[in-house]
Amino acid sequence: MKLVYFSWIRERLDRTEEEVELPETVATLGDLIAWQKTRGEAFEAVFEHDRVVRVALDHAHVDDRSEPLEGVREAAFFPPMTGG
């Protein structure tokens, strides 16, 4: 799956995007966030405040952490938006 990052989350994790091989146990968005927390200090710090991190799956906002990941090609992580 392709993971992309924006704003201060991109800066904190020091990457704009990456291709990852997810463990088979990662089935939902909640699982993906839990998995991200295991990837080192920077990830733990970013994903600790779960509700601050907003998620889009294949370019659509998803709030529900039980959303299944099957068929999803791209997951994006970003803080609350400040456009306009």
Binding site: F6, H59, A76, F78, P79, T82, G83
Partner: protein, 166 residues
């Protein structure tokens, strides 16, 4: 989302969504939206500018999610078109480095009568601020490291007024 219950004998509303680095010309955009039809009686425009506070800001850097920004604004525009009898809707959002006094965003809503145009433009801006994937970073005039602009709670509050409306 498809608008329902609209009279099929009417022209369908024009909808123009653009994400661009370049500036825009407000008068030219109004003309583009209203040209070629005579059923528009009201046009409301909103433009958002880069604002300096006390000379501290040198520029804003607008970051966006290229694959999603246009799709998300289009979803919001489709919702506005489904809720109000609009004859046209334009939304242009810039990205990149923008200096104080320069344009950031433009929304134009056209309708037969003014209330739908006011409401449509206001609705689009409220959702654009909280749902369109853009983030602002400050570049400070003194050269020090700027901050990411924090989201405002009142932006979320602004959404609530649309929950009970038509």
């Amino acid at each position: 989302m498809k608008p329902s219950g609209h009279d099929l004998s009417k022209l369908s509303p024009k909808c123009d969504i653009r994400i661009q680095r370049e500036d825009f010309d407000i008068a030219a955009e109004i003309t583009r939206l209203t040209r070629g039809r005579t059923d528009t009686g009201a046009v409301v425009t909103f433009s958002g500018l880069c604002r300096d506070e006390a000379g501290a800001l040198s520029a804003l850097e607008l970051e966006h999610y290229p694959g999603m920004a246009e799709a998300e604004i289009r979803r919001i525009a489709d919702e506005a078109i489904a809720r109000w009898p609009l004859t046209g809707l334009t939304a242009i959002h810039r990205f990149g480095r923008i200096r104080p006094g320069e344009n950031i965003v433009l929304v134009i809503a056209a309708s037969a009568h003014r209330q739908a145009a006011f409401d449509g433009a206001s609705f689009l801006m409220d959702f654009l601020k909280t749902h369109a994937p853009f983030w602002k970073k400050e570049h400070r005039a003194d050269g020090s490291e700027g901050q990411w602009v924090a989201a405002k709670e009142e932006d979320d509050d602004a959404l609530k007024r649309w929950e009970e409306r038509p």
